[in-house]
């Protein structure tokens, strides 16, 4: 008998509060991650990484859902996606792709235009307060537009706060923030982020374009 492949495993639901949805997938402090042996990764990182904290597949599934939140919320038919480089490039690329896929199979189509801003906010694994913009800081293309800021990780929230202040000076119509990972270190981080992929403990994570001094971006 041919059985169709099951793509997602569902469990009968318990009661879930609406407010919880905003926190995203919550990863507890004591989450041990998965053993490296259960997945593939580049050999040259063999001794440097501890475990697989969030597998690539679940990142993709979660982003697919975020794309739908974005489609539902933005009433305009056009948005400007402001991708925060370098860490945000994978999340942005995959989120925009899902928005496009949803658009092809529904009556609503959200036209996305992607712009880039490069920030440097970590030195080694410590986040800094200042907003260092590399390259052009001119965001005048945001004037009057509906903007979705796409950032890979929101830690203390200081960088995001500073970035949002900078964005506001260019007079956008509306600004929302999508953060793939939000650290459970401050209330500010959570409240700044409208679309949260995963809420994580205060651990230093790499991969999926997130780096440690430019290493590890090439993990999935």
């Amino acid at each position: 008998v041919n059985k169709p492949a099951v793509q997602t495993v569902f469990i009968m639901s318990a009661q879930v509060k609406d407010g919880d949805m905003k926190r995203g997938i919550v990863i507890k402090d004591d989450w041990p991650g998965y053993s490296l042996d259960l997945f593939t990764y580049p050999e040259h990182y063999h001794h440097d990484i501890e475990n697989v904290y969030i597998p690539h597949g679940i990142i993709m599934d979660r982003i697919e859902r975020l794309a739908r939140y974005v489609m539902d919320d933005f009433e305009d038919s056009k948005i400007v996606v402001l991708c925060v480089l370098k860490g945000g490039y994978k999340f942005c690329s995959d989120l925009v792709e899902f928005i496009k896929i949803l658009g092809r199979s529904s009556n609503r189509y959200l036209e996305t235009r992607v712009e880039f801003i490069r920030l440097k906010s970590y030195l080694n694994d410590q986040s800094t307060e200042d907003l260092h913009i590399i390259g052009s800081s001119d965001l005048s293309f945001l004037r009057g537009k509906s903007v979705l800021v796409v950032e890979a990780i929101v830690d203390t929230g200081k960088t995001m706060m500073a970035l949002l202040k900078h964005v506001e000076t260019f007079g956008p119509k509306m600004v929302k923030v999508a953060g793939l990972l939000v650290k459970r270190v401050s209330n500010m981080a959570g409240s700044l982020t409208d679309y949260v992929g995963f809420e994580i403990p205060n651990r230093f994570v790499v991969g999926y374009a997130l780096d440690y001094n430019e290493y590890f971006r090439d993990l999935n």
Binding site: E43, S93, R104, S105, T112, R217
Partner: protein, 187 residues
């Protein structure tokens, strides 16, 4: 130069009805010349060719914004799959630059690189430039001569010459297509 897929001048392309195209572009587009899946299959092979040529040493993948970013992300995904699944893997770092080209008095093309890390980081590395379109090649020539001053071990270019769609644009529209309606030359 590695082998490439040549699309003839008289290529008819496929009817739009045979694919999913966003409604609001239906009246503006003519045909689907290169379907998205085909782009991905070709990209997968480019990744293999790249690892073969450049995999001996640390690769810096340099993405030329804005047009190149989608192709860049997909190409790197395929390179990462190869890296994850072989005995040897090559360290891979990424960077993003914008290019402003201008003609000076002598009408030779010059380029200015905006954004990006210190170009001196490229010294001794295998540099892969991922650009969206190479039309006349003059801008690319200028970029290559600028970068070669930083003494990389090797520089290779992946031009991705789709005219419209696949993150390229026509006055900022059409970037959000996944199929393309133009010619293609490859690495």
């Amino acid at each position: 130069m590695a082998s490439y897929l040549q699309i003839p001048d008289d290529e008819k392309g496929h009817d739009l009805d045979l694919f999913c195209v966003p409604r609001h572009y239906e009246n503006d587009l003519d045909k689907v010349i290169i379907p998205h899946g085909f782009i991905m299959d070709r990209t997968e092979r480019l990744a293999r060719d790249i690892i073969q040529d450049m995999g001996g040493h640390h690769i810096v993948a340099l993405c030329v914004l804005k047009g190149g970013y989608k192709f860049f992300a997909d190409l790197l995904d395929y390179i990462k799959v190869l890296n994850h699944n072989s005995d040897k893997s090559v360290p891979l770092t990424v960077d993003f630059i914008r290019i402003k080209s201008y003609c000076n008095d002598k009408s030779t093309n010059s380029v200015k690189v905006i954004g990006g890390d210190e170009l001196s980081n490229l010294s001794g590395k295998n540099v892969l430039i991922v650009e969206d379109i190479v039309e006349t090649g003059r801008t690319m020539q200028a970029l290559l001569s600028l970068l070669s001053k930083c003494n990389p071990k090797m520089i290779k270019v992946v031009p991705d010459a789709f005219l419209v769609g696949y993150a390229l644009d026509h006055n900022e529209y059409f970037r959000d297509l996944s199929v393309s309606v133009g010619k293609s030359h490859s690495y």
